[in-house]
């Protein structure tokens, strides 16, 4: 039975949750979802670790969200469609072709920039507005470069596939254009999409022995959502080129 299959890396049976989220999935899709969840989990972990050199705070990640969707449902996934957010984009080519987007809430941009500037810029008040904006763009590009490369490097090593990252692009725009951009970048016909979303979270006032704290105390910790990492894939292409080749190897 597919539902009894556990991931050999973390021994997690993700299928139980999947039954709640998307009840119409076939047993094959449930297995594929487990596989993808593990891959995205490893990639996001690698991306989160790459950020630790920038921030003194603890960086954590959530459990990735994987959904098989029709294109018409894509807008239901991304929240307030007209909310303006910072969107950082990194294309990859190689054995798979895709785009990773990192979405940063506009309220959090200043916190992130301040944190980095306080570590690396001696006197940020000496910068002109223009210089500050230029540095902001540069810093955000660099963050995406580091996060994206760590993300795909982990996938590349985990699956033994070749991936080549392109240069980082950015846009400050409505959330709805995220869907637009990711789907257009696929540049191909598709039936079903795989939506992969994970989040990187900064705990602003981390206590050293956080593992020993009760869950209620943990909730009170001042957390900030650093960014959402979102990828869309053509399910058929992913299934044919990647998942089927690896599922026997990675599952009991």
């Amino acid at each position: 039975m597919v539902n009894n299959k556990n991931c050999i890396f973390c021994n997690t049976n993700f299928s139980e949750n999947d039954k709640i989220e998307q009840k119409n999935l076939s047993s094959e899709q449930l297995l594929h979802k487990d596989f993808l969840k593990e891959v995205v989990n490893i990639a996001t972990g690698s991306a989160a670790i790459s950020l630790t050199s920038f921030f003194k705070e603890s960086i954590v990640q959530n459990i990735p969200e994987i959904k098989f969707i029709q294109i018409e449902d894509a807008y239901d996934l991304i929240g307030n469609l007209e909310e303006e957010v910072m969107i950082l984009s990194l294309d990859i080519k190689g054995d798979i072709r895709s785009t990773l987007l990192m979405i940063i809430d506009s309220n959090n941009i200043d916190f992130i920039i301040d944190k980095i500037f306080s570590n690396y810029v001696e006197d940020k008040n000496s910068l002109s507005v223009e210089e500050f904006e230029q540095m902001k763009v540069s810093v955000l590009s660099e963050i995406m470069n580091i996060v994206g490369n760590a993300y795909f490097d982990a996938i590349s090593r985990f699956l033994g596939i070749k991936l080549k990252c392109d240069i980082v692009s950015m846009s400050y725009d409505m959330r709805a254009v995220i869907i637009n951009q990711l789907i257009s970048n696929l540049e191909e016909d598709f039936d079903e999409l795989v939506y992969c979303k994970s989040e990187i979270i900064i705990e602003k006032n981390r206590k050293d022995n956080i593992e020993n704290l009760s869950s209620s105390v943990k909730k009170e910790l001042d957390c900030i959502n650093f960014g959402e990492l979102i990828i869309f894939h053509n399910y058929d292409v992913l299934k044919e080129n990647i998942i089927e080749k690896f599922k026997d190897e990675y599952y009991d």
Binding site: E82, S138, S169, D173, M174, A176, I179, Q181
Partner: protein
């Protein structure tokens, strides 16, 4: 009056008083085609210029500018519009992402616009107005009846 959301890669049609909305038109193009006499209009939200292979599933044809616009024209004719009276307005086709070298990484917006203009020209449908290109996404509302296209970009509203 009915408000209809035109999902990405889909067509919606309406009669006088209806509003046809496309939210988050980035590199996609929202093409409105209307017959002012019959008070009928339709909007297509295309996201790719051409289909690379033959599309057997007609519900997918509306994703592509090259075949999707023809589907919209046929649909309007089925509803009673006369092709000779059809006119068009369009918005979208932005190049959303740029890098530090100011080079657009994706020309899909531009290619979408070009294909929409080409298909409309082939069908001899005059383009009354358009708001295309640029680097920002848009939200588009087409009011059937007045045949106004409201385009929201950078939090500013423009009627074309």
């Amino acid at each position: 009056m009915t408000k209809k959301i035109v999902a990405i890669g889909k067509i919606e049609t309406g009669k006088s008083g209806d509003e046809l909305m496309c939210v988050g038109v980035g590199s996609c193009v929202a093409v409105a085609i209307y017959d002012s006499n019959a008070k009928i209009a339709g909007v297509i939200h295309v996201f790719l210029p051409t289909s690379k292979k033959e599309i057997k599933d007609t519900s997918k044809a509306t994703r592509f500018a090259d075949i999707g616009i023809n589907c919209l024209i046929e649909k309007l004719q089925d509803l009673g519009a006369k092709k000779i009276f059809l006119k068009a307005k369009l918005a979208g086709g932005a190049s959303l992402f740029s890098n530090e070298n100011k080079v657009s990484t994706n020309q899909i917006g531009h290619r979408n616009i070009e294909m929409c203009l080409k298909v409309l020209k082939e069908n001899k449908i005059p383009i009354v107005s358009k708001d295309v290109g640029g680097e920002k996404g848009r939200s588009v509302v087409f009011e059937v009846g007045s045949m106004d296209m409201k385009v929201k970009k950078n939090s500013k509203l423009k009627i074309i």
